[in-house]
């Protein structure tokens, strides 16, 4: 698959400056939103793939007796018509933000937003626990990810994915405070579409990595704008951008995803 063929320079990873009032997550309890906060009991069935940390035959870390004490289950649904979402990455961190509106994208964010490769963001120094989906999330589909860590003290959760039929569009959750979550508690959010501001939204042939085009993902040069903002939407050939490889089927509107975070342990 062409989407994720990119390799990352390992030394280019810098987080945007911290400023917790600049995050832009959209809890479903917004007064202008008719959905309500979900509060479900913890699921009864444990993950069968979860290795038993006390198993003496477990070869992964026989010397460390520290058990995993916190587990978060993250369920994400792609709400779009025809925008596959690149493999979703989730991370726990105490500092920093994956993006900040009005400021230039980090190199790691640019790589994600232009090419769908989340490895740079998940490898940032501040990240304390992370996981990634193995495959893109197709429109209308749901995926489930599990994060584990020894404590939630001071932890924030970030989730990131590219709309692959765009030049540099992405969606996610930015430094969401999960430190006070109790076992069994669930929080549901919807996500906005953002534009990394690093590649012009030309929608031209060869510039979009998703299946609508199969073009180039990441390229190092940046457009003059160079600021993260909300995404203005794609135009497409059917709506007046004659050189676009996109059609009306690639249009999207907010919200992009529904994400439920449940503390299961």
């Amino acid at each position: 698959m062409k989407l994720f063929r990119l390799t990352l320079p390992a030394a280019c990873l810098v987080l945007a400056a911290c400023g917790s009032d600049n995050d832009d997550n959209m809890p479903i309890t917004m007064p202008d939103d008719d959905m309500s906060m979900v509060d479900e009991p913890a699921p009864a069935d444990p993950d069968p793939a979860d290795p038993d940390p006390t198993d003496p035959t477990d070869p992964t870390d026989p010397t460390d007796p520290t058990p995993t004490t916190v587990e978060l289950m993250i369920t994400a649904t792609n709400l779009t018509y025809a925008q596959p979402l690149s493999p979703i990455g989730v991370a726990l961190h105490q500092e920093g933000q994956f993006w900040q509106l009005g400021t230039p994208a980090s190199d790691a964010l640019e790589v994600l937003a232009e090419g769908g490769d989340n490895s740079g963001l998940l490898a940032l120094d501040v990240v304390q626990s992370q996981t990634s989906a193995a495959a893109p999330l197709a429109p209308g589909q749901k995926t489930e990810l599990t994060l584990t860590h020894d404590s939630l003290d001071g932890q924030k959760l970030s989730l990131i994915s590219m709309m692959v039929n765009t030049n540099d569009g992405f969606t996610g959750l930015n430094a969401l405070d999960v430190s006070a979550m109790t076992v069994g508690q669930a929080m549901t959010y919807t996500t906005h579409a953002y534009d990394a501001g690093t590649e012009a939204n030309s929608e031209a042939q060869g510039t979009i990595p998703g299946p609508a085009d199969g073009g180039t993902g990441f390229s190092a040069e940046r457009e003059a704008l160079n600021k993260v903002a909300m995404h203005p939407g794609v135009v497409g050939v059917d709506d007046g951008l004659t050189t676009s490889v996109l059609t009306s089927s690639h249009k999207f509107n907010n919200p992009l995803m529904t994400v439920t975070i449940t503390r299961t342990k």
Partner: protein
């Protein structure tokens, strides 16, 4: 034309006293990539007044704000009903993905918060918060705002100098990326003459001519277009 505010003035003097005064910090962030906000109006007023309401006709004062960015008419009305109002906290245009902050001391009874500003370049588009109930519990609250169309001017998407005056069709200014010229005009009709959620700019991909003077890769947006952070002290 029906006005939402003027008929309500008589009830104002008797409505106050039920809620106490408050001290607020109000931060407004323009979330868009390419749309500018004209000077913002931030006002705390009583619950029986409204600056605008979707599904109703715009007042003349709202139309003047939405078509040309003028706050004079709305400000006069709000002063008349003893609202607590802050005008133009950004000291001019609020550029894309920038923020402005203001403080507001509200009098007892002024327990609703409204915010409006024209969006440029549009014919009569505005960003709006309508009568948000100000919480009495101290804390920080986030509100996302949508783009509205005042329904008072056809969205021809032609940039015409001096068209900010009500009754003169056209977009009075297009800050940022230079607009196109000599468009034919997207439409001459405004079939929905009530305040409604803006359908967005169409734009085109021609520098000269085409339907619109706006660019379809620059001057579009998706809701929400602004984020408001209110700190109740």
């Amino acid at each position: 034309m029906k006005t939402r505010i003027l008929p309500l003035i008589t009830g104002i003097l008797f409505a106050s006293g039920t809620t106490s005064a408050a001290s607020l910090d109000v931060k407004v962030t323009n979330l868009t990539q390419g749309i500018y906000f004209t000077p913002l109006l931030v006002s705390a007023h009583t619950s029986d007044a409204m600056v605008f309401q979707a599904g109703e006709k715009a007042s003349d004062a709202l139309a003047a704000m939405a078509e040309g960015g003028s706050l004079t008419g709305l400000s006069d009305i709000l002063t008349g009903i003893n609202a607590n109002t802050m005008e133009n906290p950004a000291g001019g245009l609020l550029a894309p993905v920038t923020s402005t902050m203001t403080s507001l001391e509200t009098d007892a009874g002024n327990d609703r918060l409204s915010i409006v500003a024209m969006m440029l370049p549009t014919n009569d588009g505005f960003v709006g918060l309508n009568s948000w109930p100000i919480p009495t519990t101290p804390g920080t609250y986030h509100i996302y705002l949508n783009a509205y169309d005042a329904g008072t001017e056809a969205n021809n998407e032609l940039v015409v100098e001096g068209s900010g005056a009500p009754g003169t069709p056209g977009i009075p200014a297009s800050p940022g990326v230079a607009p196109g010229t000599q468009g034919m005009g997207v439409t001459e009709m405004e079939e929905n003459t009530h305040v409604h959620i803006h359908r967005g700019n169409l734009g085109d991909d021609e520098i000269t001519g085409g339907k619109s003077d706006l660019h379809n890769t620059v001057h579009r947006w998706l809701n929400p277009v602004a984020k408001v952070t209110v700190t109740v002290k």
